[in-house]
Symmetry: C3
Subunit: 213 residues, 3 copies
Amino acid sequence: MTGAGALLIVDLAGTAVFALNGALTAIRAARLDIVGVLTLGMMTALGGGIIRDVIIDSLPPATFRDWRYLVVAAAGALVAFVLGRSLDRVGFAVDVLDAVGLSLFAVAGATKALGAGLGPLQAVILGAVTAVGGGTVRDVMIGRVPTVLTSGLYAVPALVGAAITVVGAEVGPGTGAGVWVVTSVGAAACFLIRLVGIRFDLNAPVPPGSPPA
Amino acid sequence: MTGAGALLIVDLAGTAVFALNGALTAIRAARLDIVGVLTLGMMTALGGGIIRDVIIDSLPPATFRDWRYLVVAAAGALVAFVLGRSLDRVGFAVDVLDAVGLSLFAVAGATKALGAGLGPLQAVILGAVTAVGGGTVRDVMIGRVPTVLTSGLYAVPALVGAAITVVGAEVGPGTGAGVWVVTSVGAAACFLIRLVGIRFDLNAPVPPGSPPA
Amino acid sequence: MTGAGALLIVDLAGTAVFALNGALTAIRAARLDIVGVLTLGMMTALGGGIIRDVIIDSLPPATFRDWRYLVVAAAGALVAFVLGRSLDRVGFAVDVLDAVGLSLFAVAGATKALGAGLGPLQAVILGAVTAVGGGTVRDVMIGRVPTVLTSGLYAVPALVGAAITVVGAEVGPGTGAGVWVVTSVGAAACFLIRLVGIRFDLNAPVPPGSPPA
């Protein structure tokens, strides 16, 4: 498989899990009807990629050039709507889906940024922006302070996953197999750090002199 | 009249009614001063079109290329500021203005998306995004969960209006008269569905197993 | 020094003070950890310029083409994180930093807009949008109604500063020295009006018939 094919699969998989996550969030946190659930699911799924494509000047965004993004996002949100109540009991699912989407979008965003000619530092940042973008849109829409601000280990794993991807792409062979390996390592690192953060409710240091929480 | 002329009129009319709506919302919901009223009116009026133009890569957005958009938006907001208290008593006005703007922007957005080369599915979605964009910006700014998430019949009429426009454009003659007819039917359908939704407070189905509201 | 050099310095200085301001806001208002402080600082510092560059079709935004923007924004936020508690006692600092950033971005935004070929009216508006953009992103992220809506003298000084810049550029010589003079006068006017507004808690007129606050 070519690098472009791998990238598309990663991007669509991230879209699907963020659609599930956004739709489940709509069901749990905001108790919306089917239109609200689909809308929030699609915003969560597509928000990060649209921001990324605007910044790298790849317009119209992939979302509006390739119909599969819209269909995958709508299908993911619809599945969540139908299964919502049963999945709801598995409360951990929302967090895990978010962590999977974060990981896939961090590596896909960094890879696309490099392909668009951005420097390594910028590609790492843009990978993280892509990863946290959809969830940030989701949280702002339902009036929550975004996870990227409140959870120390949300932006950090995205930055790590994107950094591994960028380093791998700079020093690696850039062939199909190499892309898969680098993408997998970067995504796995992001996913594991995020899960550790959720499991142990870890946060980064607070400002010097802050009162205890 | 040419199709382009028709499109401009529809776009400016939508801008004017959303400016009135956003400014009245600022007066009613947030009790802002004249700068706040003008700002929220202009954001509501121009937000959807700017998002649309970014996505179809028509930059700078029409808002910043054609001075009439800025002037119409500012004038609409100013009228609302001056008349605000009297119009306020006609509480229905805010909802009707929003429905008119939704209808005009759904057809204008879908038409511009087709003109920019987007596929039919994408044009329908982008028409709806254009229609709900300004109101969503307005709601986020004043800390409300956006209407597009909470009201089942807000995105749906926009999608219907945009779909009629796209189907009409694909099968229709595309001449000036044809454009007017298709635009009018699409906008009227959107407006009527939205009004029915407001009048009967209709919502779409909730997730299976949800507790009654 | 050339006009382009002056513009870059003004833009980076505005980035630095908005990073400080956003990070201090994160410490004071939202009590975030280091990642949240850095993220909010960088969003505040870079938000206005990214919006400006999208609208004038200068993509990728300067933020992602010139590494100094990312480094200056991160450094500013980091300084605020380290010094946060001591600066905190100087509560006025947050407002003054915001006023400085507002002034620098109003003139930088208007200058860039003219350079991109926008008309004078549009350049004034876009200068103000650049100036208020970062603070608006900051406020939306932490769930506050943005200052641009609630404080009468926030958009107004930005518009005045941008207007002086545009008039100066249209009638002035456009040489390095001339650019410095016009930029300085515009920024100083914006800064002074904003400070007067903060000091005396001035607001613009409220709608006719409004009850007293």
